[in-house]
């Protein structure tokens, strides 16, 4: 049977990087085809070529056997290819109706017919089981709803191919299942679905076939049956994954030592109920909970990025008082934010400048680091974290997502902290680097650092935590001691009973 979409020999190069190298890819009607690979493997690039957001340097794209040119997002849509990108690319300030119907507004006597537009919009949303007030601005809804609106938009009447780039990244478990039900329904109706994800479990749940990219080349393709997870992972990272993650952590330091970070009743009205968290040197405390439980908010409250209106924070016995990021840094606490794009990287500045920024803030403006010192620190970190770059003077914006995450981590480490707060440290980081970071966290706590790790990946928490604090609905609900930490226990505690 002819493939619905067939991509043959597509290549795309940027200065210094070959993003795609003669890649073949095809997806058939009524199939969910997963596209997997590490960061920088070329997944997003391939998707962008398929949806007209990027033009390939060479190669052929065929739709139902006929060659087509996808010059723009409009052209792809006209060809029946609908796309939903990783960041919900809609306009939050506009109403849901406008977001859904932009570009295909129905007309009457030359002017837009809004009543008809609203009817069509409601219809589209109903197909996905969504019933909301479509006149409100899109931004007033949760990310999950926004994502469904994006999918509803992508599902034009004559869309036959749906491309989803990391659609579950911001969804909780329940919302993911809801999405998968919709996808299965679409599959049955003959839709060809391309699906990028790095959540291996989810891929095995929903995909029929898997294509693996590595370094811009296709290294494997086959049905889900033919590709057990071990083979999949080894294709993605090129060598056997040392299952270091499964070794339970041992606690080296004195459990009776005074905690280095004490947070007593710290909270903020309408953001987070008061929490009590202690960290001891050499300890890793995990922070678990569903999306919306307040994990990031708690991390930010401790760091001072969100100002608490209740409670106190002590670092090494000294009261922090009115917390602020600058103050926390000076006391030896650093923070790696979850959203690296909007809160982490300074994309125009060089890798070197990004790395030394926190340390420089700590020193103050009158004590600038010498250029030589900056170069030394940057080179050290590039090597220690295996940041894939040939040049520390490159603007950070040119690095792949995973490497950007590493730069932010480097920034925190260089500032010489006693306490390190990590919010989703492995988000968007490929499987290989994943293990590196887990090992790094272990090494840091052996060196006497105290770490608070917020993560939605339970395996990660199990692998590194000595204790796990569980949040639910903006409240601290439980703490799981080291001996009890298992995946099941965490899920159970989060769910509550």
């Amino acid at each position: 049977m002819t493939a619905k979409v067939e991509i043959v020999g597509v290549s795309k190069a940027y200065p210094g990087v070959r993003a795609l190298d003669a890649v073949d890819f095809s997806v058939e009607a009524g199939e969910v085809h997963a596209l997997m690979g590490e960061n920088g493997a070329g997944k997003s690039t391939l998707i962008k070529v398929m949806t007209g957001a990027l033009r390939a340097d060479s190669g052929v794209i065929r739709l139902d056997g006929d060659e087509i040119k996808l010059d723009s997002p409009g052209a792809a849509r006209a060809a029946g290819i609908g796309a939903v990108y990783q960041e919900v690319n809609l306009v939050p300030s506009m109403s849901v109706t406008k977001n859904l119907m932009l570009g295909r507004l129905p007309r009457r006597l030359g002017l837009v017919s809004w009543s008809r537009a609203r009817d069509l919009a409601r219809e589209r949303l109903k197909r996905l089981g969504v019933d909301i007030d479509i006149e409100r601005p899109l931004g007033s809804y949760s990310v999950a709803i926004q994502q469904l609106v994006a999918i509803a938009r992508a599902l034009d009447d004559d869309v036959r191919v749906l491309v989803l780039d990391e659609p579950t990244a911001s969804l909780d478990a329940q919302e993911v299942q809801g999405l998968f039900d919709i996808l299965r329904d679409l599959k049955q109706r003959g839709m060809a679905i391309v699906f990028i994800s790095h959540f291996i479990d989810q891929v095995y749940q929903i995909a029929d076939r898997i294509t693996v990219l590595r370094n811009g080349r296709r290294v494997g393709v086959g049905t889900t049956m033919e590709m057990p997870s071990f083979k999949l992972v080894s294709l993605m990272i090129g060598h056997d994954l040392l299952v270091a993650e499964q070794k339970p952590p041992t606690f080296h330091l004195d459990p009776n030592a005074a905690p280095i970070l004490i947070a007593k009743g710290v909270g903020r009205r309408r953001v987070m109920e008061p929490v009590d968290i202690n960290l001891r040197a050499g300890e890793v405390v995990g922070l678990a909970g569903l999306l919306g439980s307040g994990r990031s908010e708690t991390a930010k409250l401790l760091f001072g990025a969100i100002r608490a209106d209740r409670g106190e924070i002590f670092v090494a016995g000294d009261s922090v008082g009115a917390a602020s990021p600058a103050k926390s840094l000076r006391l030896g606490m650093t923070f790696c934010p979850e959203d690296r794009k909007s809160e982490g990287i300074l994309s125009e500045l060089t890798i070197r400048e990004n790395i030394v920024l926190a340390l420089q803030s700590r020193r103050g403006w009158l004590r600038p680091l010498s250029r030589r010192e900056q170069d030394r620190l940057a080179d050290e970190m590039i090597e220690a974290l295996a940041i894939a770059t040939s040049d520390a003077e490159k603007p950070v914006g040119q690095l792949s997502g995973g490497n950007q995450q590493k730069v932010i981590l480097a920034r925190s480490l260089v500032a010489g902290p006693r306490v390190l707060i990590l919010d989703e440290p492995t988000r968007g980081i490929d499987v290989g680097a994943h293990a590196e970071i887990v090992n790094l966290i272990r090494k840091l706590c052996e060196q006497g650092l105290a770490l608070l790790v917020v993560s939605s990946e339970l395996d990660e928490l199990v692998a590194v935590s000595h204790r796990i604090v569980v949040l639910r609905d903006r409240k601290q609900v439980a703490e799981i001691p080291g001996s009890d930490i298992t995946r099941a226990k965490i899920i159970e505690t989060i769910a509550g009973s």
Partner: protein, 350 residues
């Protein structure tokens, strides 16, 4: 990325040398523009480059350009600092007007002239504080925040005049004259003042961490804050610097005219200053601060004006020529435009 891609990347990024490297550098365009204008000048007006020494000071068209460019250049330097924080200061012209009114007021009140100088700078500081408060504290967009002082500032200046000095009051001040038209050995005093301001700002941005903080705030204020940068203070400082620079220019301009004319003093100087920054390589969306480039940009703008005057073209042509040249420089700076031009030429050759 693995080692394979890494080495491939390394091979492709062979160090840029020669003409290609030069062309990539942002400052090449203002330098070229300035050189071109000066060359055209040299052709049109023989003796353009001649520098004479008369009565112990330097004279000549080149000196004239530097001399007249100083106020705009000073304002532009402050503007460059503000622009790098992704901000803008439209109120500099009005700040100049207010400073002028304050100067004349206090001279008539009999204050010692040196104190008046400090008062003028203090006025600029206050205005900068006001702008800074609106942007840093109240989180108002810079273009709108500084628009407030831009709209009302000249009115404030007029008000000060009315209350204390009458319409367009004039004055005499040896100190201010000295600053504006005097000279230290051969060099006009104002150039020394200008160079001093440039030096101070250069030291501040390149020899302390202030420059890094400035550029980080302009790049991503949320990220900068999380990295421990006191973004509020940095933004305040930027507008303070702009205010003081405007005040300095105001002192010179007021001394030039011997009067306070709030309606027209420093009119449109903010536009010239912004142009100078952009020609010098700065971007309105924040980022790097190019102090040297900004100076060059101010010189380009002044050189244009001087060239038109000395060429015999009626002064009405000034604005049009300025607009055209600025557009050309901007088009050349834009890579899209360059590529289009190159391919158009290539097509023509075939």
């Amino acid at each position: 990325m693995t080692k394979e891609t890494l080495s491939a990347g390394l091979a492709e990024r062979a160090p840029l040398v020669g003409v290609k490297a030069l062309l990539r550098h942002r400052m090449i365009w203002p330098v070229l523009a300035l050189a071109l204008i000066l060359i055209v000048d040299g052709v049109i007006s023989p003796g353009f480059f001649r520098i004479r020494i008369v009565e112990g000071r330097l004279f000549g068209s080149l000196i004239d350009i530097l001399y007249r460019a100083m106020p705009t250049a000073t304002v532009a330097l402050g503007m460059a600092v503000v622009i790098s924080t992704k901000g803008i200061d439209l109120s500099v012209g009005s700040i100049i007007a207010i400073c002028g009114a304050v100067i004349v007021w206090r001279i008539h009140a009999g204050d010692p002239h040196f104190v008046i100088l400090l008062l003028a700078l203090g006025t600029g500081l206050l205005c900068g504080l006001w702008n800074g408060m609106l942007v840093a504290l109240l989180d108002i967009q810079p273009i709108i925040a500084t628009l407030i002082l831009m709209v009302s500032g000249r009115g404030i200046g007029l008000m000060i005049n009315l209350i204390y000095g009458g319409t367009n009051p004039s004055f005499n001040s040896a100190l201010l004259q000295g600053l504006s038209v005097g000279h230290i050995s051969l060099i006009p005093t104002r150039l020394v003042v200008g160079a001093g301001i440039f030096l101070l700002l250069w030291l501040l941005t390149r020899r302390t961490a202030f420059g890094l903080f400035l550029e980080s705030v302009g790049g991503n204020p949320a990220a900068a804050r999380l990295a421990g940068v006191n973004t509020r203070l940095i933004i305040y400082s930027a507008y303070l610097i702009s205010g003081i620079c405007a005040a300095a220019a105001g002192v010179i301009l007021t001394a030039d005219t011997h009067t306070s004319d709030p309606v027209s003093e420093g009119l449109y100087i903010e536009l010239d200053a912004i142009l100078a920054v952009v020609i010098g390589g700065g971007s309105l969306s924040g980022g790097r601060v190019y102090l040297g480039g900004t100076l060059l940009g101010a010189l380009v703008i002044q050189a244009l004006t001087t060239s038109i005057l000395s060429s015999g073209l009626p002064p009405e042509y000034n604005l049009v020529v300025k607009a055209v040249v600025v557009l050309i420089v901007l088009l050349l700076q834009s890579s899209n435009a360059r590529t289009a031009l190159v391919s158009a030429i290539a097509r023509r050759k075939r």
